[in-house]
Symmetry: C2
Subunit: 368 residues, 2 copies
Amino acid sequence: MAIGILGGGQLGRMIALAGYALGQRFVFLDPSPVANAGHVGSLRVGTYDDEERLADLARSSDVVTYEFENVPVASARFLNELVPVYPPPIALEVSQDRLDEKQFFQGLGIPTPPFAAVSSRAELDRAVGELGLPVVIKTRRFGYDGKGQMVLRTDADVARAWEALEAAALIVEGLVPFVRELSILSVRGKDGETRFWPLVENEHRAGVLRLSVPKSEAWTAELQARAETMATAVLEKLGYVGVLAIELFHTADDRLLVNEMAPRVHNSGHWTIECAETSQFENHVRAIVGMPLGSTRLVGHSAMLNAIGQLPPRDVVLAVEGAHLHAYGKEAAPGRKLGHVTVRAETRAELHAKIAQLRPIVDPVTRS
Amino acid sequence: MAIGILGGGQLGRMIALAGYALGQRFVFLDPSPVANAGHVGSLRVGTYDDEERLADLARSSDVVTYEFENVPVASARFLNELVPVYPPPIALEVSQDRLDEKQFFQGLGIPTPPFAAVSSRAELDRAVGELGLPVVIKTRRFGYDGKGQMVLRTDADVARAWEALEAAALIVEGLVPFVRELSILSVRGKDGETRFWPLVENEHRAGVLRLSVPKSEAWTAELQARAETMATAVLEKLGYVGVLAIELFHTADDRLLVNEMAPRVHNSGHWTIECAETSQFENHVRAIVGMPLGSTRLVGHSAMLNAIGQLPPRDVVLAVEGAHLHAYGKEAAPGRKLGHVTVRAETRAELHAKIAQLRPIVDPVTRS
């Protein structure tokens, strides 16, 4: 069976590396001839809206998935006429527009931070008035890793933001004070079976994920159940197939608010390769091909650290017992995700010691 | 860094699948244009003695390894003039001839079953007289998975064997009654660092490995230490770099006799992908590239079952919690290794229950 993947980055690469053991073959479509998934499978070079390349991908594939949520919805729908596309294009559509996405959650009764659509200066002022500063202003489309968003704390910030962003369709969100960021990773099969990995606690800096810790000290069965209920509503509503990640804010008064979702395998689930019985990548393949889903139980205590802008000194990382390096095979560039390190330990104390040991090596930027 | 691999079968494929995370690239040389490692890396088609293809592989590689011990030694030496070859060609040379291999072990003081070289009918009769029936007669070269060997129990067997095998250089070995077969998997880095995985208990049928259980009930620290001492002697003597497997007989009177060695990653180590902190495939890559070696500790209780001749029904296997399918992407054929299933459990009791559950599915041949 051949799986076509829109996008040839590290997520596609890790899907393929997991899927080969299941006897699958992989074909990637990516605009870049040096896309790093090309090292591990067949790479077709083309833009995501080139119907000839899309049709070619469909002909080569029994099922198509995507590793990148800014693939044009029209392309996913075009492909879906030719070959099954999972997750369903509707999931792509909902998640591409921050306003649609928030309204979608709202419609399911899933709490989100307060928000308002903004397409004029008057609407911006009204939204700021209603929500009260500080707020976050975001472009509705094509944002990721903190791009296309600004925090507004003063009236001067508001004016400056409008100057910078006025061309775009915008959303303004209340800046919810949260005590931690969490994510719930879920997977749904074609037959509707669902599985959830334990909640992951995430730490971002400059809008980019730095550290993920599954089942951290903040984890409770009650919190897990609440997150699973939310994820289930989303999965069911979308008739979802594949892995879905939902990012959450956990507030001081124990509310769980949805920030956003990603209809794909997710950076906060990379630790599952070594530290869950079945990785998000394998379960994504199992789901879209129609295989039974695998166990999501934890294997040991673990954490994942992202390597941003530069890869850590390889031999220093590998000399740490239980450290697993994942280099994505990309050219280094400032702010670029080049790899990650997962560490597995037998106890929580050992885990924290290893995070402390690895952090200055893998993520050496002065903390702000 | 690019790693060239002689042989494009499942072992090469699994080396690559592990090595990509370490940022490596892979090029395979195999006589078959449909070699299954070609799915996951660049495949060059050519015979192992084609110097033009070998030179081409060397030009494309920073280091060369092999996944198949019947690669011509001359080819490994030719390559080694152009680019480092690990494990060193001497390891290939020693392991390709059963007589040289046994004499090599003998020279290191490592016990083996009694043996004698045979190149005439008179030598055969003398060997049988000395060792006493039953014996095993083997071709000295190109045997694997029980091929090129016969058990002789009667004088008629001896006569028949001579008729069948007289053209070949032969070795006759005493048929040692053993209580179990074990293997010790080891890895040695360029700097001489060595690591050992826990002893594996192996079950063969018709000369082919069927079941491997690491750290089985027969395991003791003393047995592990004895096996490690033997492996260390071999590793040091050969100036070895990479993974080495040594197959052992454990006798009723608690002797540990070496049967043979394989200078490569080994079928009895496939469980390490999920169930050791570092797999044999990853540590092989780490060793030959010159990275620090990874921990060989066990992660849970595990076993591996080989799928011979046919793949098991995929969905039945995957529905077993903790079962991990590895399909090699090969055409089915009688007796061919098409895949394996590793199962991981949290307790020994659970492990045995899962082996009992999986065995009729993965290895359904009527037991003889």
